[in-house]
Symmetry: C2
Subunit: 413 residues, 2 copies
């Protein structure tokens, strides 16, 4: 029997009316035949309320209470799953709720940020094949010794994709508050188009570049297990046209595009280390300090300094990491031997993403041409096999996004 | 190693300050040595909030959702247990929370009103013996096939007593908003005294007569398993004198009293069936109809009617059952052949309870003497081995309670 997994986030089950609406969507989908498992998040706001209780009672961060945090916070999804199962029964469907532990999701790693170690989905699979809709509490599982554990941010999406993999489902449908993945942010470019399909690799780049449809962790999992994921609207009615966007293997995309989308990320910062002695150990020392502190670098610019035997090196970090990065570098000034640091915080990153880049050398030329034509200055550039990113002044973000969207022919007719 | 079970109700863990206070009480108790398990209810108001959600989503009572109701409602205790475990760790104690299912409580019977079928307390016992305080979510367990189930009203007290039995605990301490069991309601008689000890049988009678310290279900369980239960105040501080009242076997009470307490119940009603043909089948027909409908009768008065070959029979019921009882009887008037029914709703029941009655014939004499002296008329009487109850006009309730309290020498010096 074909199986399918549906996933609904916290806003989609935010109140009792929304839960009843979700039951209608599930009913319509189940009417297509085959088994159905549904993964739900906690009702919007509920997880924050529970976290607030745990923070207030255990204010001393030196005491390890992560396992109890998990036991408390996991109930949000348990309640949503129970209520949705009720709403499905009210429609005459057979359904039951499962906690993550009951559903067989086994975790390892630290509490509150656990990883999925295994999923023994035999019981859920049997229920689903027997025609009962399995409503599974997302975001949670149990350790091998039976303690409740949670998966951290984006944990319900990860749960849904992992369940789809464990069940051998034909697809995982992620219902959300947007109706699919767009060529760029429709709030910036009204001519943005919904993509029918996008490859895992492209979606990964889009997500890491700030397109917030799904977190990279879930997409990586889907890619590893070859689970097709469809992103579609939870606001549409049960009978509405709601095709969404299918995230799938590149081979499954018939119409190849050179560029699939234009993404952007604000809140970039650039740190320049000027007059660093031209010595590989010093340079490595800069990056080792940042790496050890878990600070992700994105772009690196490296060039000769004005003084002899010295270089200038600049790197971009998220603005949230700026103070920490700067303190690390400035704190090691004597050892590293550089002259001074400079920072800029008025920067954004715009990126074009597309698997077609692999075979089209002209992509970079089009990008820089389009930006130059609009007078957008580029401070740094980084590329991957399927992405080119440019660091630009942040007041040019919208202008650059629109220019690139048009230059690659993405504008809707 | 000696083990002890402590239980805290919803008011005692009603907010985060109260939970922190409870942690202090547990710490002080644990300092006496031995293993400790703590059973908690949901934070006050939380269960009602959860029930409200389930009622709103599954308004059609013809759809059976009791299992999902349980999955939703049980989270209240799970949260309280997690928060208390955190509060204990904040004090430097070793503690962890257990859901009912994790703790090994196995239920049968209907969802939302399950019975405890068995308790596999091996894991909790091992944890407790290892010096870790086990904080167990009350009111819940799991069915043999792993579904969450709840125990219905008074379920957390039942959980605590059952856990004490399963652990072979020396005692179960029930912390509540009163500091023990009193000879009568202190709001009516200021000279009421806290009892140091009371037998299970007496406590059962007191509870069924309206003394609301513990429900009869928990006391019956404690009596069956010979678990001493101490009722004491959750409002007292960790170092305060807080002996409470020990509910225990009659043999463990040194100082025997003839009467241990005076209880009362308002909201009694009396239904008189007048002119019923004097025929055992007709009489049985009256009580069969009430019994089949699950209406508990208390006192029955039976006497000759004015008409020949006819009797009058009167019975008392709780006022909440009056309309239903009357409809049943009046609806069968043709078959039963009585003349008419009459009802009174201005009645209370006062009762004296004491194991010493078994050997003291004068108890009834003292009771009727004391009531007569105050001019309290008695409409009906019922007795058990350790209890005499009288139905009286409800505006005489306080007067009667005080008169009986004094007549049996219960007034504090």
């Amino acid at each position: 029997m074909t199986r399918r997994v549906l996933k609904f986030g916290g806003t989609s089950v935010g109140d009792l009316d929304r839960i009843a609406h979700v039951a209608g969507l599930v009913e319509a989908d189940a009417a297509e035949g085959g088994g159905r498992a549904v993964v739900v998040s906690a009702m919007a706001g509920e997880t924050d309320r529970l976290i607030g209780l745990t923070r207030a009672i255990a204010a001393d961060s030196r005491v390890d209470v992560a396992d109890e945090y998990d036991a408390v916070v996991a109930v949000g999804e348990q309640v949503a799953a129970g209520l949705l199962a009720m709403a499905l029964r009210a429609r005459g469907l057979r359904a039951r709720s499962w906690t993550g532990a009951q559903a067989g999701l086994i975790t390892d790693g630290p509490h509150a940020a656990a990883r999925i170690a295994a999923w023994d989905a035999g019981a859920v699979g049997a229920a689903v094949d027997g025609g009962e809709i399995a409503v599974v509490a997302g975001f949670q599982g149990a350790t091998r010794d039976g303690r409740i554990s949670t998966l951290g941010r984006g944990g319900s999406d990860v749960t849904a994709v992992a369940l789809a993999a464990a069940l051998g489902a034909e697809r995982c449908d992620v219902y959300t508050d947007v109706d699919g993945v767009y060529t760029t942010d429709p709030r910036i470019e009204a001519r943005a188009r919904r993509l029918d399909r996008i490859s895992y690799e492209e979606m990964l780049e889009m997500a890491s570049l700030g397109a917030k449809v799904m977190q990279t962790r879930s997409i990586e999992l889907a890619m590893a297990h070859k689970v097709p994921v469809r992103v579609l609207s939870s606001l549409a009615g049960p009978g509405d046209d709601n095709p969404g966007t299918l995230i799938c293997e590149e081979d499954a995309i018939m119409e190849k595009r050179i560029v699939s989308g234009v993404a952007y990320a604000r809140d970039e910062a650039l740190v320049s280390v000027l007059g660093l002695p031209n010595d590989p150990d010093r340079l490595a020392g800069v990056f080792a300090r940042l790496g050890d502190a878990g600070i992700n670098l994105d772009m690196i610019v490296h060039g000769r300094a004005r003084t002899p035997h010295a270089v200038n090196v600049a790197f971009s970090v998220g603005r949230a990491d700026l103070d920490r990065a700067l303190a690390l570098i400035d704190g090691a000034k004597a050892e590293l031997g550089f002259e001074l640091t400079e920072t800029r915080t008025d920067l954004s990153k715009v990126s074009v993403v597309g698997v077609g880049m692999r075979s089209h050398a002209s992509v970079a030329k089009v990008m820089f041409g389009a930006l130059a034509e609009k007078g957008v200055g580029v401070d740094a550039v980084t590329t991957s096999e399927i992405k080119i990113s440019a660091l630009i002044p942040d007041d040019h973000t919208e202008l650059a996004v629109r220019a690139l969207h048009a230059a690659y022919g993405l504008d809707a007719a």
